[in-house]
């Protein structure tokens, strides 16, 4: 979303153009030589340049009006193209040029002047979040390009939503709450999915009689259908640790995965809630609908400072965890507090699945040599630098083992852990759990 402010009057700083400065140089140099060397032909050499500078003294506006507007819709997603509209007023007779000096994570494209007098400055936001687009640099030129006026205006702020990860197949629990929805449940009901045939009993609807089965068995047989239920999904987004390169860090991947999972389940008319596990624990209770999608995105995007401090929270909030909910955890699993919370969730009987977004390791340092190479160097050449490298390599191996142990312990508890690299669709790592219903105890 790009917000636009009211039209504003901005002061212009005027100065001679590059062309005019060269003419001035020629004129002054020629005249000075004419005076100093007493050679009047140099004054004649300077005369045309001097005359060409005369129009530079024409009137120039001290301020101009700058109107900004958003050229696209109210939503902006990572990588999506948006446009800022700029109109300069009060500068009749001057050529105007507008350039966008892009801020970090904003890629500006060349602007064009439309027939309606509005400059269109396209840009792309390369990372989610609320961030300034940059600065608009306006340059005004007179007819002969002898003077140029400059002014800078802050461009609007962009609200960029994370690019949701693709997820088309969904993990569905075997036992669903008794709320109408779109997932076929195990119990018979009024859905559309055929589940079996049973004997007719008085009171059944006659239109559901299965005549071929009735003919075969000799008694009236009835088609039965699976009930369709909605699922309650709670996304636990762990942004307490942010490691890796900006743009593809664990927090970036967690936010994109959470947005993708939320959008996918909301599209299936499920009830979706979100727990943000960052510096503070904030949550939205499960609900369905488009407004819930907006609420989830706003919670992801903004850090309002409310919520409980994560170190003051001993358990995940019960209000955000209705019984029978599927808990989808998006986490790099670097927080032991979260790992303990997952164990507790499992003990409470929640069906939980973890999407592991840890895609980077601690750097050991530039010029890392392998352990084998270090051994070949032997003790004599083992300098302090190599010792430090070896210790760092050892620490990394210990770290890897710790991470493997955390994942192994979660799997032993019955919490599947799948790894997502941030590039592919989420369907790929979740495939083993989307083919059939996930068993839960609720």
């Amino acid at each position: 979303m790009v917000t636009a402010g009211p039209p504003m009057q901005a002061p212009v700083t005027w100065r001679l153009s590059r062309h005019a400065r060269r003419l001035v140089t020629l004129a002054i140099a020629g005249l000075l030589i004419a005076v100093l060397a007493r050679r009047p032909e140099f004054a004649g050499l300077a005369a045309p340049a001097l005359l060409l500078l005369l129009p530079a003294g024409s009137a120039r506006p001290a301020t101009v009006g700058v109107a900004l507007a958003a050229g696209t819709g109210d939503r902006l997603t990572e990588g999506e193209r948006a446009t800022i509209l700029v109109r300069v007023t009060g500068a009749a007779g001057f050529d105007a040029q507008v350039r966008l000096q892009a801020a970090a994570w904003i890629a500006a494209e060349p602007g064009v002047l439309g027939a309606d007098g509005w400059f269109r400055l396209p840009f792309r936001s390369q990372r989610w979040g609320r961030r300034p687009v940059g600065t608009l640099e306006l340059t005004l030129h007179d007819r002969w390009r002898l003077v140029q006026g400059r002014l800078r205006v802050d461009a609007p702020t962009a609200f960029c939503y994370p690019l949701p990860a693709r997820l088309e197949s969904r993990v569905v629990l075997s036992k669903l709450p008794t709320r109408l929805g779109e997932h076929p449940a195990r119990v018979a009901g009024e859905g559309n999915e055929f589940s079996g045939v049973r004997e007719f009993v008085p009171g059944d609807r006659q239109r559901r009689i299965n005549w071929p089965a009735t003919t075969r068995r000799g008694t009236l047989q009835l088609n039965t259908f699976a009930a369709e239920r909605a699922q309650v999904v709670v996304i636990l987004m762990d942004v307490s640790a942010d490691v890796g390169e900006a743009g593809t860090s664990t927090a970036d991947l967690a936010v994109r995965a959470a947005a993708g999972v939320g959008a996918s389940y909301l599209a299936a008319r499920d009830r979706v809630g979100l727990i943000s596990f960052g510096a503070r624990v904030r949550w939205i209770s499960p609900a369905a609908g488009r407004r819930q999608a907006d609420r989830i995105m706003n919670l992801v995007m903004t850090d309002s400072g409310d919520g409980e401090r994560v170190d003051a929270v001993s358990r995940l909030p019960h209000a955000a965890l209705p019984p029978g909910a599927l808990i989808v955890v998006v986490s790099p699993l670097l927080s032991l507090r979260l790992v303990e919370a997952l164990r507790e969730l499992r003990e409470r009987g929640f069906a939980t699945i973890v999407i592991d977004v840890l895609c980077s390791e601690p750097a050991v340092g530039a010029g890392l040599v392998s352990g084998a190479a270090l051994r070949l160097l032997g003790g004599r050449l083992m300098t302090g630098r190599y010792r430090r490298l070896e210790m760092a390599g050892l620490a990394r191996r210990v770290w890897r083992m710790e991470q493997d142990a955390i994942r192994f312990s979660l799997r032993e508890l019955g919490i599947p852990v799948v790894r997502w690299d941030g590039q592919s669709s989420l369907d790929e790592p979740l495939a083993p759990y989307t083919r059939r219903a996930m068993v839960n105890r609720a």
Partner: protein, 190 residues
């Protein structure tokens, strides 16, 4: 608003190269009659001409190309980039103008030749202006009268230069001084 475009026209760029070379040659030749300092000034003028052409070419190449953030550049590339940026910031055309005029003044008085050099320099500046702004030649149509008046003043100055010393060249010198003050006034920040 459409008279100036963002493109660099090749004919104007070629004219810049030709006129810069012509100005240096016109000011330098003949070298045998020039003062002792003419050779170093000629070298400086040639360097400035090359610098201005390279600066223009750099602007043409850099137009529309995205410049990577410096922090991401390797050290050697970053140093080269900074050196090029520093070189490109030098006002080569102004230095060329001064060097050519100094070279011309190191020669004996030759009024017609000097005014011709002035026209070449003016052509160079206008061609450079057209090449940088991407404007077409017809944008200068409105300035033709001023250029013609300037050329007429040049012809008058040639006449003054041909006069023997003391025969009216004194008041012409005074006029030149007043004009220098006006030019300095125009050069003040506006």
């Amino acid at each position: 608003m459409t008279r100036y475009s963002a493109r660099f026209p090749a004919p104007a760029a070629l004219a810049v190269v030709a006129l810069a070379a012509a100005a240096v040659l016109c000011a330098a030749l003949p070298m045998h009659g020039a003062s002792r300092g003419a050779k170093p000034v000629l070298i400086v003028a040639a360097l400035c001409a090359a610098g201005s052409v390279a600066q223009l070419a750099g602007r043409m190449l850099a137009q529309g190309a995205a410049r990577p953030a410096e922090s991401y550049l390797p050290t050697l590339t970053g140093l080269a980039s900074r050196a090029w940026a520093a070189t490109a910031a030098v006002p080569w055309p102004q230095l060329l103008l001064v060097a050519v005029l100094v070279l011309e003044v190191l020669h004996p008085s030759r009024p017609w030749h000097t005014v011709l050099l002035g026209l070449i320099l003016l052509g160079y500046l206008l061609a450079l202006h057209l090449a940088e702004t991407g404007a077409r030649v017809f944008v200068l149509r409105g300035q033709l009268r001023l250029i013609a008046a300037g050329a007429a003043l040049g012809a008058v100055s040639v006449g003054a230069g041909l006069l023997p010393a003391g025969a009216g060249s004194g008041w012409l010198t005074a006029v030149a001084g007043v004009a220098a003050v006006i030019a300095a006034g125009l050069a003040l920040p506006v």
